[in-house]
Structure formats: structure tokens, C-alpha cells
């Protein structure tokens, strides 16, 4: 577990006490900011905690990823726990005591295992990058089943034009994958060597541009377009 060894060897700054922390959370902080054996024990306890959290989360999501089971699943959970320990210890200064320490730490385990499950399930397939006719036909079919207005040829035609004319290459790539083809954002982040947050921001900016363009052309009301 190389990442944990690195964490163990990292020199920590002097502990900063947080105001109003519950005793259990303070004990976690004290242990993780200690040195030597005390710190090693705290790291082991943290790893156990986050491994249990990762396994619980993987179990909760089992219906979404039924093909990932057994040793393969446990390996993903262990990797997630390893990386969550690294993330928790490297961001310890950001913990301000707004929640219990274990709640704060759980979030890292959940994030790490969710990213791994999504990427693993996607496999080595490439994300769709073309907004081809088949993609638009599929969308029109979905809308059509509910008798919706939005699927009108005029709307889709305007949206397709806006994607081509308003978006940067990166925005188009992300919008086509996530919005048009339902690719998980973590998968796109992985394939574009980025992060969930950065890809979401690209998607957000793309959507804003598209809404404004469609509003200008009279395809959306102003409230939606802002």
C-alpha cells in the first residue's frame, strides 16, 4: 500500500485546534497529526473506517453495477480506501469541524469508490464525441413517447446548430458525451484526464451558452435561459 506509506512518512505541520469540536473528532485529528506510533495507529484506524465505508457504498450501488463482484469489487474498495486516506490526510487542514470528522472522512471514501465503480463499469470504451443523426433520432424518440413539444424538429435543429456554432471544442466534447449520450461525468473526466468538478464546470458553461442562444432565438423562455 504505497500511498499509505507516503502518508506515514509525510511530515505534518503543528496541529491546529478547531473550536467546538466533539471529543471523538478531536481524537481523530490529534491522532492524525501526531507522530510515530500514534500516527501510524490513527492511519490504520482511518483506513479500516474508510474501507468499511467504501464497501458499504459499493454494496448500496450493487444494482447499478451487477457485473462487478467478488475479488474485483473488493480490490476496487481497497483502492478507494487507500486513496481516500491520502485525500483525508492531505486535506486535514481544510476540516473545520462543521460536521463530525467521520462524516467528513466518509465523503472521501464514497467519492473514491463511486468514481472507480463508474470507470470500471465503462471499461475501455471511448466516449461518444459526435452529435450524429443517430443521437438526435434517439432523443427525438424519447421525447416523442411522452408527446412532448420540445422534441419538435425546429427545437432540435436550433439546438444542434447552437452546439456547432456556440461551443468550444472542449465544451462540445463534454456536452455531447454527458448531455446527449448520458455518459457518466466521472468517465468523461477520466478519459479527458480531468476531474469531476472541472468537467461539470465545462458542461455548466456550455449549457449556459446554449440556453442563451436558444432564448435569443425564441426557443426557450427567459427564466430558463439565464
Amino acid at each position: 500500500m504505497n500511498s499509505l506509506l507516503l502518508v506515514r512518512e509525510r511530515t505534518q505541520d503543528a496541529p491546529a485546534r478547531r473550536q467546538g469540536l466533539d471529543a471523538e473528532s478531536q481524537a481523530w485529528i490529534d491522532g492524525l497529526q501526531a507522530t510515530g506510533v500514534e500516527r501510524a495507529r490513527a492511519l490504520d484506524r482511518l483506513h479500516d473506517l474508510l474501507l468499511r465505508a467504501a464497501r458499504a457504498e459499493a454494496h448500496r450501488r450493487r444494482r447499478l453495477y451487477p457485473e462487478i463482484v467478488g475479488v474485483e469489487l473488493d480490490d476496487l474498495c481497497r483502492q478507494a480506501a487507500d486513496d481516500a486516506v491520502v485525500a483525508v490526510t492531505s486535506k486535514l487542514d481544510e476540516y473545520r469541524g462543521a460536521s463530525r470528522f467521520t462524516t467528513w472522512a466518509y465523503a472521501f471514501a464514497i467519492f473514491e469508490v463511486s468514481v472507480r465503480l463508474r470507470r470500471h463499469a465503462w471499461g475501455r470504451g471511448r466516449i461518444p464525441t459526435a452529435d450524429d443523426d443517430a443521437t438526435w433520432d434517439r432523443l427525438a424518440e424519447r421525447a416523442g413517447t411522452a408527446g412532448a413539444q420540445v422534441e419538435s424538429a425546429e427545437f432540435f435543429s436550433a439546438l444542434r446548430r447552437a452546439i456547432t456554432e456556440e461551443l468550444t471544442v472542449r465544451q462540445r466534447q463534454v456536452f455531447v458525451a454527458v448531455a446527449l449520450n448520458d455518459v457518466e461525468i466521472d468517465v468523461v473526466a477520466d478519459q479527458l484526464s480531468s476531474t469531476r468538478g472541472a468537467i461539470y464546470k465545462v458542461l455548466h458553461d456550455a449549457r449556459t451558452k446554449l440556453r442563451r442562444r436558444l432564448e435569443r432565438e425564441g426557443h426557450l423562455d427567459q427564466e430558463r435561459a439565464r
Binding site: A98, T103, I110, L139, A146, A179, K201, H204, L220, R224
Partner: protein, 73 residues
């Protein structure tokens, strides 16, 4: 899927959105607050908006709620 659902899925909605990173940074506080009966959607509206929009983050939120509930029982 209604026209509104489809438009939202494709184009999102207006309104302040905290984004994935800020939401993650406040997630533990948000979940504990909700479980203790505080109206976190009013206290942290941009986080609530993000959770409505981002399928990845809302799923992480659900996982955290479940873990904290299990720990607290």
C-alpha cells in the same frame, strides 16, 4: 419524459449552482444538518441546486446519508 424534463436534462436550469467541488466541501455539513432537522436547502441553496442537477453528486449524497444514518443508530 416530458418536454420540461428533456429540456432540463439537456440544458440544465438557471439558478446558482455551487458546482461539484464546493458541494463536496460542504457535503458532510449538509447531510448532518439535514439529518438533525435543519433546512439545509435554505441555508445552502447553491449546494441544494447542485444536488438537483448533478447525478454523480446526488448519488454521493445519498450514500453519505445512508452511512451517517447507519453510524448514528
Amino acid at each position: 419524459m416530458t418536454d420540461s424534463d428533456l429540456t432540463t436534462r439537456l440544458l440544465g436550469t438557471a439558478g446558482e449552482d455551487a458546482g461539484c467541488e464546493e458541494t463536496f466541501a460542504r457535503l458532510a455539513e449538509y447531510v448532518e444538518g439535514e439529518l438533525s432537522g435543519r433546512e439545509m436547502a435554505k441555508l445552502l441553496p447553491a449546494v441544494a441546486e447542485h444536488l438537483r442537477r448533478c447525478p454523480a453528486c446526488i448519488e454521493d449524497y445519498r450514500g453519505l446519508v445512508e452511512l451517517v444514518r447507519a453510524r448514528n443508530t
